[in-house]
């Protein structure tokens, strides 16, 4: 990545393990991806596949009973490369990055805002630690951020407590908080899962707008293929701690090559195709993280499983952008294309 200016964050072979209940859960087990400036990377996968842990690792917001085992997280800050995984967890350098260079919004705006402080206070904290603005300027900035996010009467709302905000407004306030210092990267961990569908669309619209205006790179974590199709520039599909397929949105959505990606896409009903469309749910269920399959993690649920799947497949580059972790992808790719063509 070092020579590519357009890459804001590069993750290589990242492993994050959890050590709860005296067991070791390999939540993220060798993940690599790049985040480009001004582009949206969607990380898709079922719950428990390690996508949220990946996000928390980048921010070094992991719980106590977990640690980064190996790998690199390289972040480009003012033409300097910073290895985030080497920084002290709550040390000064890490804190300077958090909130100002990389910001995060969370799944549930109901619980992510502190109920005992006003929204304005919570936004201003971010500005207080990362800018040199004085009190008055901070307040003005808070109000203008809230109004940018489309919150009516921002002068009044800024002094209100989170509980008098609706769910959608709280998420807007969260975004305002995250965008306060114009971060280079915005990590959104399922930002709309807890919201109504109509509100969802508004939030995404807002994020698109911010991306275009500020050239912010967005890492959007979701389990919703519909969201991916709408917003993603690049997509990474995760399963049990690995990225099984990654590429541009076109690569992954139009030419899905990994059996899991394909199965994911087939399990989503498409609007307009009526009641009789074929929806193929994925057979079986995600394995127990403490009792993982030996080789390819998806093998037990895969229709194309063979003996060779007992060994973990390496990453194969199909073309410049499209990569996959599967032994059988060639045959599978052909069969899939045949089926599409017939």
């Amino acid at each position: 990545m070092d020579d590519k200016d357009n890459i804001a964050l590069s993750v290589r072979d990242l492993k994050t393990f959890f050590y709860t209940n005296n067991r070791c859960n390999k939540a993220v087990n060798g993940v690599s991806f790049d985040v480009e400036k001004g582009k949206t990377l969607c990380i898709v996968g079922e719950s428990g596949c390690g996508k949220s842990v990946t996000a928390a690792t980048i921010m070094q917001l992991l719980p106590t009973l977990s640690r980064i085992e190996e790998g690199e997280i390289k972040f480009r800050k003012d033409n300097k490369i910073i290895n985030i995984e080497k920084l002290e967890k709550n040390g000064k350098e890490m804190r300077e990055i958090r909130g100002s260079d990389i910001a995060m919004i969370f799944q549930d705006p109901m619980t992510a805002l502190n109920p005992v402080y006003t929204v304005g206070f919570q936004i201003s904290e971010n500005l207080k630690y990362h800018t040199n603005l004085n009190k008055k300027q901070i307040r003005e900035k808070c109000i203008s951020l809230l109004s940018d996010m489309g919150i009516p009467l921002p002068e009044k709302r800024v002094d209100e407590y989170p509980h008098s905000y609706s769910g959608g407004m709280r998420q807007r306030a969260m975004i305002a908080m995250a965008m306060a210092c114009n971060p280079k990267i915005l990590i959104a961990d399922e930002p709309t899962t807890a919201l109504d569908v109509t509100i969802q669309a508004q939030i995404f619209e807002l994020m698109e707008k911010l991306k275009k205006e500020n050239d912010t790179a967005i890492i959007l974590i979701t389990h919703d293929m519909g969201v991916v199709a709408e917003l993603a520039d690049n997509v990474a599909v995760m399963y049990m701690g690995n990225i099984v397929e990654a590429g541009t949105a076109d690569d992954v959505l139009r030419r899905p090559t990994h059996p899991y990606t394909k199965a994911l896409l087939e399990s989503v009903p498409v609007l307009g195709r009526g009641k009789n469309q074929d929806i193929n749910p994925i057979k079986g269920s995600t394995p127990d993280p403490y009792n993982r399959p030996v080789g390819c993690q998806f093998a037990p649920r895969c229709n194309w499983q063979t003996e060779s799947c007992d060994i973990m497949p390496e990453i194969t580059q199909i073309n410049d952008t499209h990569q996959i972790r599967c032994h059988k992808y060639e045959q599978f790719f052909e069969k899939y294309n045949e089926k599409r063509n017939s």
């Binding site: 921010m59 917001l61 106590t64 709550n90 890490m94 804190r95 300077e96 990055i97 958090r98 909130g99 100002s100 910001a103 995060m104 969370f106 549930d108 619980t111 992510a112 805002l113 502190n114 109920p115 005992v116 402080y117 919570q122 904290e125 971010n126 630690y129 990362h130 407590y161 509980h163 008098s164 969260m174 908080m177």
Partner: protein
Amino acid sequence: MTTYIIQRLFIFFPMLLAISFLVYGGLELSPGDAVSHMISPELALSITAEQLEAMREAYGLNKSFLTRYWIWLTSMVQGDMGYSMAGGVAISEIMAKTVPATLELSLVALFFSTIIGCSLGVLSALKRGSATDNSLTVAGMAGVSIPEFFFGLVAILLFAIELQWLPVGGRLLPSYETVWDRIPNIVLPSLVLALMMTAGAMRYARSSMLDVLAREFITTARSKGMPEWRVNLLHGFRVALTPVVVLIGFRLPLLIGGSTIIEQVYQWPGIGNMFIRSVRGSDYPLVMTISLMYVFVVLTASLIIDVLTALIDPRVRLGKE
């Protein structure tokens, strides 16, 4: 806010009235009447039935139950608490002597236990799983498990009898007049009382803090790149504070209950000591007045706690969620 307080008062007074009625009625059912406790066995042999009757009459024991309750209640509201049966001293006089002693002891103990307990609890939560945390947890459990009088007795043996640093008990010695003279007497009982309560406050502060630290807004706060002290204290402790304030309120009964036995151990001339004496002597007017005073204190405390909670936590104040 005002409506909230008025609502609470609507519960407060009927409750107090109902309890006073029950206590009055309850003591009515107790074996023997007060007169039989007032005369010594030797006197009982020589006393006549008429004399007994006259004594009953004098103490108003012959009227019907409801009438007596009504008389007692109205005089109580007017501030006349009646007379103790042992020695015929005015109860208000006894109260005036004993309540300040108990307040002095309890408040000193409350002050120390709250400060020590909260800071140790928060420390323990922040260092969760460490050796510090584990030993504090075990020490806290020991604190709630050792009977307070046993702890008090060991303290007397050690500091008063063996080392002779502090007096064995009592509050005011005849020639001791200044505040400084009195301090040695309060040290042992208040520290014993405080240590017993510290354990509870610490456990509670720890669990409340842990509870809050696991909440998502703590991650949010951390994701803003703020220093850990600000995340822990401003976002963590501030929210964890509400239940701790409630706890101190709930601990008030424990505090004045706990001081009852400690007062006995240290011969502290407080209300608890007086209560035990009145229970032993079946001095019903005194038993009744003191227990109602306890109820009054507890109810008032819980009222104040509710109001305080509402002030600290805006969700309660506005009646939402």
